[in-house]
């Protein structure tokens, strides 16, 4: 829905509408989540000529106007998400490397507590928790 709402959002931020911008956004939405490199690959399925640095620059712009966010899931590249997808928290298993998602709602009581204690407001979509998944924590040494 809301076909060209992203255009308005971009313009409101003082940015122009370009094919690359559109492709990056669409790719993030199509992938659900991905690293800059993965997003580039997806973009290049449509337009071969697009450059990695353009992807980086556009992810930055899209994040600034609030159309995407990113989370640091591993030690490597960050993962970008489209906003408006259902918000979730990443659980990263440091043993097997798996990543699962839980609904962001689980964290709400905790985040409320944090806010009232220290006035800190957390961007939930940014959260990545490290630890051990069910399989690895039961089979642990």
């Amino acid at each position: 829905m809301a076909s060209a709402e992203w255009e308005t959002t971009l313009r409101r931020g003082g940015y122009r509408i370009t094919p690359q911008r559109q492709l990056v956004l669409e790719s993030v939405e199509r992938l659900g989540h991905g690293t800059p490199e993965e997003i580039l690959t997806e973009v290049q399925r449509t337009a071969t000529g697009v450059n990695l640095s353009t992807v980086y620059r556009n992810l930055e712009v899209l994040e600034e106007v609030g159309l995407v966010t990113h989370a640091h899931i591993g030690h490597g590249a960050p993962t970008y998400h489209s906003v408006g997808e259902h918000v979730h928290i990443h659980l990263v298993c440091d043993h097997c490397g798996s990543v699962e998602s839980v609904d962001a709602g689980v964290a709400d009581p905790f985040l409320d507590e944090l806010r009232s204690r220290s006035g800190f407001v957390t961007d939930v979509s940014h959260v990545a928790l490290h630890g051990a998944c069910r399989g690895c924590s039961t089979a642990s040494s």
Copy 2:
């Protein structure tokens, strides 16, 4: 206290005791927390010849045997902590860059909930939450 307990811990893991190892561990403890580069600088106050790669290798070893942990606080280098210091969660303000700590206990109910829901056990010392601190969230646009 417990002067040479770290030696036992290392040996139990099958590792040797070296001056570099000791210096890295001591530096982490003295600093409280720091990036590999900062740790190197601290180490070099005692032994100029120590190399960055040695710091990396030893942080990895020390983490493996459970003497230190690390958290990804910003987009840059990770921060290492000695274990046994009081465990805390980092609140990273994405606006002003400040980092504050809260006692890990605040998160316990949340983490228990997570465990029972998805079987995921979180390494609390690893947690870094991004968002806006009190100053920045009240003065926000």
